[in-house]
Symmetry: C2
Subunit: 425 residues, 2 copies
C-alpha cells in the first residue's frame, strides 16, 4: 500500500510542543481512528491531500463549509476581488446590505439579518435576543444537542462555571411530552426553545424532526410569548433553500447560520423575524472581523448558486446513491450499517457495534483507500461530487467490509474511554 | 465643499429594512457625530473611501487590524496563495504549526498557542482555562475594561442573565489597594486576574500601566495559585514586539491576541505558559473557521514584518509628531486637547468638554476634511503612514480648531443620552 504518514508524524510532534495536546476542537484527530492525518496540504473540489500527499475523497467537507467544492473558482474570485477593493475596514461595505437582503429574500421566516464569524456567535446572539425580548432567562434545549462551544453550551464541562449553565432546562428531541415538561419547568421564566433542525448529535443515530414535535414547539412559544430558535449552522442549505424547518412547515423566530453559507469563507449569520427586531437592535454583540466585506462577497455568490441551481436535488440523489450502494455492499458481506438522517447529511455507523470498534476499523480502512469518512459525526455530500465519486467510495467501502469481516473480534478503541471521561456524563 | 453623502444615505435606508437599527456593534455610526459615513467602498494603504467616494486618512485602522496598510500586497498575496492551495479544510494545514511556533518565538511568556476568530474567543478561552486550571470560579476584572462582547463581558447588559456575570469582582485599573481588596473578596475562589495592557476604556482618559500595579497583580496570582491574563487583543504589537506588559517587566500566564496579528485577516489567538497547558488541552472550544489556513499564512507574513522591520519605532515617531502638532495647533486657537495613552495608540479628546459637544464638532469637521478621527475611542497609527500624512491631519485639525473656536457654545450631542441609557449605569 502506498499510503505513508511520515510528514504528518513529524508535524504532529512539532505541534505537540506549541499547541496544547497538539490540537484542539472539532478538527483534532484525537478521537478518530489511528493514522487519521492531522494536517492537510491541499484541498480542491471534492478532494483533500494530507501533508504526505495522500489524496482523499472528503465526506466531511471541512465539517460543513465545503458545499460547492473546495476552491470553487467563482466564489473564491468574488472573495479575492472584494479583498483587493476593501475587506476589514473601519466600517462595512455595501455588500453587507446586499447580503442581508439576499438572506432575508431566501429565508421565509426572516425579516432581518446580523452577521458574525462563528456559529457559536449566532447561537449566543439568539440566546441574548430571546432573553432581551422576553425579559426572562430560562431556555429549553434538547439534551445532547450541539449549539456551539461557548461556556453556556460547549459539550465538555471543563472550565465551565455553574452560572454559565443556570436557567437551562432540557428535553428529549422529538419527544413532545418531554418538551412540554421542560416548558412547564421553565414556568413563567421561559425565554426560548432551542432546536436543531434535525437531531444530528454525535455518536447516536440521527433523527428527522417529527412535524408534531416541531409544531408543538412553535405553539408553546406562541402561548408563552417565548422565541423559537432553530440552529441551522450545520444543516442550513444542506436540506432546503430555506430554513430547514420549512420542510415541516414551522417558522422559527430566530435561526442561526454558518458553514455552507460562504463555501468555506469565514462568516456566520443570525436571521430573525420582526417580532424580535428591537431586542436584536439593543443587545451588544460584535467582533473584529464581523463587518469584513470579502466573506460577504463570497456568501453572496454562494447564495446565488443555492438559489439558482439544482445543487440540492443533485446532492440528495448522490446521497441516496451512496446510501444504497453501501447497504448493498454491507449485505454482500453479511454486515449491516446504521445510516441515519437525510441521505445528503448522512451519519453512517456499523450496526451492532456498541464500542465503535467495527466503525473505527471500517473507516480507517476506507481512509487508507482514499475515502475520508467519520466514525461518529454526520458527514456531508458535496455538490461538486459526481456519481463516479460515489461509486469510488462504495468500492472502497466494499474492500473495507471484506477486511472487517475477515478481522474477527475487535478490541474497543481505547481513545473512546478517554472521551467518556472528558464528557463526564 | 465637495463632500457629499447621498449614496450613504440611500444605503443606510436599505440597511434599516434588513439589519436591526441599520447596523450593530462597534462599527455602527450610531454614536458618532452626524454625517459619519456608515458604508465604505474601498480601503488601500492608509486611506478609506466611503460609498460616495469621499477619501479619508484613517486613524481607526479598522478599529485595530490595519497595522501595515490596507491591502498590503505581500500579506494579501500570502493569503491568496494559501487560499488557492487550501483554506477551510477538514483539518489544519502545516501553516498552523508554523504560526504557533512563530507566536511562541516572539512572545516571551508563551509556551503554546491556540487560534480562534474573535478577540472574544481568546478572552473567553482564557477565562475557561483559568477556571479549569484552578478548579475555582471567581475572576477579578478592571471596572470598565473591554474584554469582548460575550454574555460574560459585553459592555451592555441587555440579554445578559445574572448567571453570566456570577463570580466576577471588580477593581480600579492601576489602583493596587482596589486590586488587593478585589482579590480579598474573591477569597479562596480566585481563578484569575484580568488586565488590559493599558487602560484603553472608551470615553475616559487612557492610562499606561503603573509597574507597581502590574507587579502586584503578578504577585497576587502567584500567592493564590491563580492565573494572570493580559488581554492584548487591541494593543498587541502596537506597543511592543512582545506582550505589551514586557514593557513593565511582568509576564502573564495567558494573553489574548487578535486585530493586528494578520493585518486585517480573520484570526485571533490565545497564548499561554506551560503551567496551564493541561488546562488548555482539556477545555472544549472550537469554531467552524478556527483552523482555516489562509489567515494563518497572512499572520505568518505579518509576524515576520513585526519581527524584522522598524515599524514600531516609525509608528511611535509618527504618533509623537501627531501629538505635538495637534497640541501646538490647539494652543494657537486658545484650545487644549487631552491626548492620553501611548502616542502610537492615541486617545484624543478636546479638553474641558464634559458633554463631548466640542469633540463631536471637531472630529466632524476633521472628517469632512478627509481625516477620520474618533471622538471617544482610542485610535491607531498605521505603519504605512508618512510624515506628510501626519502633517495633512494636523493641518485639517487646525482648520477644525478654527471653526470650533468660532462656533461658540454647543449643545450636548443628543445621541450620547441614548448611550447612557443603554449602558444602564
Amino acid at each position: 500500500m502506498s499510503w505513508t504518514n511520515s510528514k504528518n508524524t513529524d508535524l504532529v510532534e512539532r505541534a505537540q510542543a506549541v499547541i496544547p495536546m497538539g490540537m484542539y476542537g472539532h478538527q483534532s484527530v484525537l478521537l478518530l481512528p489511528d493514522d487519521y492525518p492531522q494536517f492537510f496540504r491541499r484541498a480542491k473540489g471534492v478532494h483533500l491531500w494530507d501533508v504526505d500527499g495522500n489524496r482523499y475523497l472528503d465526506f466531511l467537507c471541512g465539517y460543513g463549509p465545503n458545499l460547492f467544492g473546495y476552491g470553487d473558482p467563482e466564489i473564491d474570485d468574488a472573495y479575492i476581488a472584494q479583498l483587493r477593493e476593501g475587506d476589514t475596514m473601519t466600517g462595512p461595505g455595501e455588500v453587507m446590505v446586499e447580503l442581508a437582503e439576499a438572506m432575508v429574500g431566501l429565508i421565509a421566516h426572516a425579516d432581518w439579518a446580523m452577521f458574525c464569524k462563528n456559529g457559536t456567535d449566532a447561537t449566543t446572539m439568539a440566546l441574548m435576543i430571546a432573553r432581551n425580548h422576553t425579559g426572562r432567562n430560562t431556555v429549553v434545549l434538547a439534551r445532547g444537542a450541539y449549539h456551539g462551544a461557548a461556556p453556556w453550551c460547549t459539550p465538555l464541562k471543563k472550565g465551565v462555571a455553574p452560572g454559565d449553565r443556570a436557567n437551562q432546562v432540557f428535553y428529549d428531541y422529538n419527544d413532545v411530552e418531554s418538551l412540554e415538561a421542560a416548558v412547564r419547568e421553565a414556568g413563567d421564566d421561559l425565554a426560548a426553545i432551542f432546536a436543531s433542525p434535525i437531531k444530528h448529535d454525535t455518536f447516536v443515530d440521527q433523527e428527522l424532526p417529527d412535524p408534531a414535535y416541531a409544531r408543538r414547539a412553535r405553539e408553546l412559544c406562541d402561548e408563552r410569548g417565548a422565541l423559537l430558535i432553530v440552529d441551522d449552522v450545520r444543516a442550513g442549505f444542506r436540506l432546503a433553500r430555506d430554513s430547514s424547518w420549512s420542510l415541516v412547515g414551522v417558522k422559527p423566530d430566530l435561526s442561526s447560520w454558518g458553514k455552507a453559507i460562504a463555501n468555506g469563507h469565514p462568516i456566520s449569520a443570525l436571521l430573525g423575524a420582526d417580532i424580535c427586531r428591537m431586542a436584536a437592535a439593543t443587545i451588544y454583540a460584535t467582533g473584529s472581523y464581523w463587518f469584513s466585506a470579502a466573506p460577504m462577497a463570497a456568501a453572496l455568490k454562494t447564495l446565488a448558486r443555492i438559489r439558482d441551481t439544482d445543487y440540492l436535488e443533485r446532492t440528495q440523489a448522490l446521497g441516496r446513491r451512496l446510501r444504497e450502494g453501501l447497504d448493498e455492499s454491507a449485505a454482500r458481506h453479511g454486515l449491516a450499517l446504521r445510516q441515519t438522517g437525510p441521505a445528503e447529511l448522512p451519519l453512517i455507523m456499523v450496526d451492532d457495534d456498541p464500542t465503535l470498534a467495527k466503525g473505527y476499523f471500517w473507516t480507517q480502512a476506507l481512509m487508507k483507500r482514499g475515502v475520508y469518512f467519520h466514525p461518529w459525526h454526520n458527514m456531508f455530500i458535496c455538490a461538486a461530487m459526481t456519481e463516479a465519486d460515489i461509486d469510488f467510495a462504495v468500492e472502497a467501502a466494499d474492500e473495507a467490509f471484506k477486511l472487517l469481516k475477515a478481522a474477527g473480534p475487535l478490541e474497543a478503541p481505547a481513545k473512546l474511554g478517554f472521551m467518556n471521561q472528558m464528557l463526564d456524563h
